[in-house]
């Protein structure tokens, strides 16, 4: 399903962020230092240079010494060379110069001078490293990173250390803890020490460690803690000290409590996000259904058209205005709206207009329209999904708590939906067109008698509904795949929203959409995605038993139709 796809996208994004940014930073830092700081600290630089040169050594023992020394010097300038050595991208030329090959493998630069070199003209050999060299290397890299000036780099190193503890570095962590000012890094440092402290002989230290873990830890610690309260096959506790066992089980339950809270927060957020998307998809549907009594089966295709409009705008920017590429979404908003609205109006004028009073046949005719639209998009853009890129300000996310990322794109979409709903509400409540729309919704004949051109109102309303769906497509393009079947994925859910929320009132649609979003997301972890969907359907049917016209049905005379 789509949602899983987007989830993966985030996880990928997250890891990309983690991996790439520090590396780029090292590189920037390195160039900065290489160009600016070298003359200032010539002595240190000489020391660094000689140690760096040692990396080209054929003998592993000498190589290790050089690596160790670089770690002790702690100069971030050595990082690129060390990382390159670890990743087997450091090579030695015949005259002993160290060349760092970049990730593509086509270009290289001198590790000392930073000058670009033509790697094809040189006869290069790789220093041979084994596991013992690698161990030394990791320690040296960790040391430099832990003492780095950039808190992000320190955070990354600390996290790495938490995953793969190394006793050499723990000593360093203990030392740098006092100087650490960044709270997040401190937290991780505490955890690193606590993890180490669990295995110490000092009971007091172990208890302290457990408390730290209970306070800051995440689920990764659970296995460590469970080992403390487990019994072996004979039924004896693995851990002899009852006090440790008690504290450990307390820590476990505190971790579980926190995890539960985190999960609920994540469910809430993703439910809100799904609900807001459903709201965009269903809002137009509910308005047109309320007004004209027709269900537009091609409504999902308006979402798709909005998404493809965004795709086209993106491509135009890529082609003609690459320097403003990151801002393509701004003009895409009116364009997606207009394209969908115009297509909606054309459909209303040519087809749907002639089917008034025959709701079931409108259903079939609009289904036919949706088939034609889907096939047209397939012939124009191909049957495959197309790529719509997130601009930089929508990629990434806020890590609210350990392991829970709220992507910026979803947050922005929620805000966007609030604006759209507010705008539609204002349009319906505060403008004369809105007044006419409401009048026609309540009583078509009477409104017509009062001089309202119901045909025009129908046309504008249909355009508005389709346009809002187009905006929904734009939003969807930022968090999921864009393909010809995009609309089909959401259409059943948006129908459910309309059925649940009733017609004629925006508040009903809002409640229906958010309700469905929350129910879906909170049921998913308990029942699984599919059973969750089925339960949602059952819930909707049961609710309809109580309120056949939807949760927020119009009351009184209007309910007659």
């Amino acid at each position: 399903m789509k949602k899983d796809g987007t989830l993966h996208k985030y996880q990928r994004l997250k890891t990309n962020l983690k991996n790439r940014k520090p590396f780029l930073r090292f590189l920037g830092l390195f160039l900065f230092l290489a160009v600016g700081l070298f003359p200032l600290s010539l002595v240190e630089a000489n020391d660094l240079d000689s140690a760096l040169r040692g990396l080209g050594n054929k003998s592993r023992a000498k190589l290790k010494v050089a690596v160790k020394r670089l770690g002790d010097i702690g100069n971030p300038a050595a990082l690129p060379a060390l990382v390159a050595l670890k990743n087997k991208r450091l090579q030695v030329s015949e005259d002993g110069a160290l060349i760092i090959i970049d990730e593509s493998g086509d270009h290289g630069h001198d590790a000392l001078s930073g000058k670009q070199v033509d790697i094809k003209s040189l006869d290069l050999s790789k220093p041979r490293i084994n596991n013992s060299v690698r161990r030394v290397l990791s320690v040296a890299i960790g040391k430099i990173q832990l003492t780095s000036d950039d808190p992000e780099v320190r955070l990354g190193a600390a996290r790495e250390l938490l995953k793969r503890p190394s006793s050499d570095l723990v000593v360093l962590v203990e030392k740098s803890l006092n100087e650490e000012s960044d709270d997040k890094v401190r937290e991780i440092f505490f955890l690193v020490l606590a993890k180490e402290g669990l295995n110490s002989d000092d009971k007091e230290k172990r208890l302290q460690s457990l408390e730290v873990i209970a306070k800051y830890g995440n689920n990764d610690f659970k296995t460590d803690l469970e080992a403390l309260v487990d019994k072996n096959e004979k039924g004896e506790y693995l851990e002899n000290d009852p006090e440790i066992r008690k504290t450990a089980s307390k820590a476990i339950s505190s971790l579980e409590r926190r995890q539960f809270f985190i999960n609920q927060a994540a469910n809430f957020f993703y439910g809100l996000s799904l609900g807001s998307i459903l709201l965009l998809a269903a809002l137009g549907l509910a308005i047109t259904f309320g007004l004209m009594g027709v269900i537009n089966m091609a409504h999902g295709e308006m979402l798709m058209i909005g998404a493809y409009s965004t795709f086209v705008v993106q491509n135009i920017f890529k082609e003609y205005l690459p320097e403003f590429f990151d801002w393509y979404l701004i003009p895409a908003i009116p364009i997606a709206f207009t394209v969908s609205a115009v297509i909606g109006i054309i459909l209303e004028r040519t087809i749907i207009r002639h089917l008034y009073g025959r709701p079931l046949e409108t259903l079939l005719a609009t289904w036919g329209i949706s088939l034609v639209l889907i096939q047209s998009i397939r012939l124009i853009f191909g049957a495959q999904n197309v790529e719509v890129a997130n601009p930089y300000y929508l990629s990434g996310g806020v890590e609210v708590m350990n392991g829970v990322v709220f992507p910026y794109s979803r947050i922005v979409i929620i805000i966007f939906v609030v604006f759209v709903v507010a705008a539609v509400w204002a349009l319906l409540q505060k403008t004369s067109l809105g007044l006419q729309v409401r009048a026609v919704t309540q009583n078509r004949e009477m409104a017509s008698c009062m001089g309202i051109s119901t045909h025009k109102v129908d046309m504008y309303t249909f355009g508005l509904g389709s346009g809002v769906a187009g905006l929904g497509g734009l939003a969807l393009s930022q968090i999921g795949n864009v393909g010809p079947e995009l609309g089909q994925l959401y259409i059943v859910d948006s129908f459910m929203v309309v059925v649940l929320g009733g017609v004629g009132k925006i508040v009903g649609t809002v409640a229906g959409a958010l309700g469905l979003g929350f129910i879906n997301k909170f049921l998913e972890p308990v029942a699984g995605a599919v059973l969750g969907k089925i339960m949602v359907l059952v819930i909707v049917i049961v609710l309809i038993q109580k309120r056949p016209q939807g949760l927020f049905a119009l009351k009184g005379r209007m309910a007659d139709n």
């Binding site: 269900i295 025959r358 079939l364 329209i369 096939q375 059943v492």
Partner: protein, 368 residues
């Protein structure tokens, strides 16, 4: 009894019916057996599976016409009942493969593949044809009865009902797509070997199934005809045209709607069961919402509210589909989409309605 049946058609109608039956039951099999293969008149073997498939669709169209054409309730979920019958038959066919599957196990192949050790409880009994037959005849109707009771009781109708049934088929499709549900997941049930001991690959079995399908369709047609011509049928049409007035006249429309809804699902389930051995596969895509909507268009093409129209429509649309998917696959959806639009706009009464404009006989039946 025979007298009653005889009044279902006019004399001319009966003649036409028997001519059609004669062609389908006698002439085609004879042309297959007696005429040499080189001849233009020879009917190849594959025609019977193809025609059998169309006949099953025609039975579905009959069922949809009862509920939509006559009672005015549009269901977008008939694929569910069709699949229920189909899956029941498929389970029997799976069980009768025995140990001849790829893995030489007593369990169906997909269960071995999923590393299941035992047959799930809901597969018990499908070793026996009689049990399977019972399930096919009862389950779709029972499910429809339950669903319909709750839906009709709360007076869900019109587009609401259409949407709810669509959601039902969508949800069940998702359920059957799961491997853990125990019906073969994505791939469904396939690789059948034999039915009641007869190999499904033998032409004679295919012709046999084809003949059975014709007989079932004929009987279902007579049953439907009987229902719609009875007083009950009049009330159904009245419900379609003005449900409130029927209620005010003292009828409990819930009972009538529930009856025709259940009957429709029952026929649809039988169609599914006949479909599976002839096509050789049943999978969750039969429950796609689009499939159920297509069923409605078969009826719309032929003409709602006329049983013969439903049969003709199913044949025409599926014939066109077979032709398009070979000749111009890219344009099939255009054709289907345009068909939906043009029909509803210009030919709301379908082909039968269009042609009966010229003969004044059928003026009685006017779908709203």
């Amino acid at each position: 009894m025979i007298k009653k049946i005889a009044t279902l058609h006019s004399f001319k109608g009966w003649i036409l019916t028997f001519i059609l039956l004669g062609i389908a039951l006698v002439l085609l099999p004879l042309l297959n057996l007696l005429v040499p293969e080189e001849s233009v008149l020879h009917v190849p073997d594959y025609i019977f599976s193809l025609l059998g498939k169309y006949l099953c669709y025609a039975l579905v169209a009959l069922a949809v016409d009862l509920i939509w054409g006559y009672t005015g309730i549009l269901s977008l979920g008939h694929g569910v009942f069709f699949s229920m019958g189909g899956y029941a038959m498929g389970m029997y066919l799976m069980r009768s493969i025995g140990k001849e599957g790829v893995y030489k196990s007593d369990l169906p192949d997909f269960m071995v593949f999923l590393d299941w050790k035992e047959l799930p409880w809901y597969w018990y009994g499908f070793d026996y044809f009689a049990f399977t037959l019972l399930v096919i005849l009862i389950l779709p109707g029972l499910f429809a009865f339950t669903f319909g009771y709750f839906a009709f009781r709360s007076r869900i109708k019109g587009v609401y009902f259409a949407i709810i049934t669509q959601a039902m088929t969508y949800a069940l499709m998702l359920l059957f797509f799961r491997n853990n549900t125990g019906f073969g997941g994505n791939n469904g049930l396939t690789d059948f070997k034999r039915i009641l001991g007869y190999s499904l690959h033998e032409p004679s079995t295919k012709v046999g199934l084809y003949i059975i399908t014709i007989i079932v369709l004929f009987l279902s047609y007579l049953l439907s005809r009987y229902v719609v011509r009875s007083k009950l049928g009049r009330i159904l049409t009245a419900i379609r045209d003005a449900e409130s007035r029927v209620m005010f006249s003292g009828y409990n429309t819930l009972h009538y709607k529930l009856f025709v809804w259940t009957l429709s699902a029952f026929l649809c389930g039988i169609a599914g069961a006949l479909y599976v051995p002839q096509v050789g596969i049943i999978n969750p895509s039969e429950m796609q919402p689009s499939n159920s909507i297509e069923m409605a268009i078969w009826v719309a093409v032929g003409g709602r509210g006329t049983l013969s129209g439903a049969l003709i429509g199913a044949g025409l649309v599926n014939g066109a589909k077979s032709w398009f998917t070979v000749a111009a696959p890219d344009y099939w959806l255009y054709f289907l989409g345009t068909l939906f639009i043009v029909l509803t706009l210009f030919f709301p009464k379908g082909l039968v309605g269009f042609f009966s404009r010229f003969s004044s006989k059928d003026k009685m039946r006017e779908p709203s």
